[in-house]
Amino acid sequence: MPAILLKKLPDITGPKFTAQNTTVRCDPPSTTVPTSKGTLYIDTHQLVFFSSQSNKGFAIDYPSIVIHAISREPAEETKDSHHIYCQLDCQFPGTQQNSDTEQDGTEDLFAELRFYPDDKDILDDVFAAMSECAALNPDDLVEVYSDDEDLDGHSDREVNRLDDPSIQSIGEFDPSNFITSVDQLEQLTPEGKAVLKHLESVIVLPEGQENGRFSDAEKTQD
């Protein structure tokens, strides 16, 4: 949810900055935006505006705030109009559908919010706090790493094969069952003895070669 309407002030976990006595305006106009002054909380998770006077407000996730900026008229006499400008990537809830924009064909789903704090000296602090919180809330990295996912997905399958229980059950390793000396031959099952007898009849090692059979290979390596 890009913008959530609030009927009571939510828990503000860690506000970076709080702007009291702030008026908010929305363009295109929305009936749900509080008309009375309220407080703007630049919380680490979302931007919250709440007017205790009219008992309503709203919260916006940072990824929905496309641009935020300080708007200043150059002339000193227009200082009252200085404000924080935000452009959202969505329409504000309760926006009155203007017939002009529909006929226009350019139905851009966006809204502009303006925050006018009474104290104009805090505008820079609000801007800095919003910039910091925007960086704290990056978008999901789904698109950015889509290329890597394909390659990783391939290697993941190989890793999963190791966890395959069927391989584990075949490969149970118990050295105590191995026969390592002649006197253990009695432990062999009748089938085992038959297999051993057959193997001994087919494998004939030439005399004197048992120890020297790899001597050639070592020489060629040198």
């Binding site: 363009d27 496309v66 900026a69 966006f110 502009e112 925007a134 290697s155 190791l162 075949i170």
Partner: protein, 120 residues
């Protein structure tokens, strides 16, 4: 991270940031962070008729995820260096992926060898 490093070299230069909603903002690049969020100063909106309210905005923060293009002034960009850096980054990414594969295969072979030994 390559483009983060690259855009850091553009700090102080005139850029035009084109957003996915077709808004284009020209200004001096003040800072950029690892998410490619841009801070611009002395800005002007290219299509002022469409966004009249932004005339009085002098500096702004643009969320990196909404940027479509960044237009740079050609003399400030060393394209040969950028190409070389991009090539090297692609290579090192490839190497990392290849390096991660052989150990997996080796472990597999060991598992199979153990299995064969036990059966016979």
């Amino acid at each position: 991270m390559l483009f983060y490093s690259f855009f850091k070299t553009q700090v102080g230069q005139q850029v035009t940031v084109e957003l996915k909603n077709d808004l284009a903002i020209q200004g001096t690049l003040e800072s950029v962070d690892q998410f490619l969020n841009f801070k611009l100063k002395d800005i002007s909106v290219v299509d002022e008729e469409r966004y009249p309210h932004m005339i009085s905005v002098k500096n702004c923060f643009i969320r990196g995820s909404v940027v479509r293009y960044v237009q740079l002034s050609p003399p400030t960009v060393d394209t040969a260096l950028l190409q070389d850096a991009a090539r090297r980054e692609a290579q090192s990414t490839q190497q990392q992926q290849q390096q991660s594969k052989p150990p997996t295969a080796a472990t597999n072979t060991t598992a199979i060898a153990t299995a064969t030994g036990s059966v016979s």
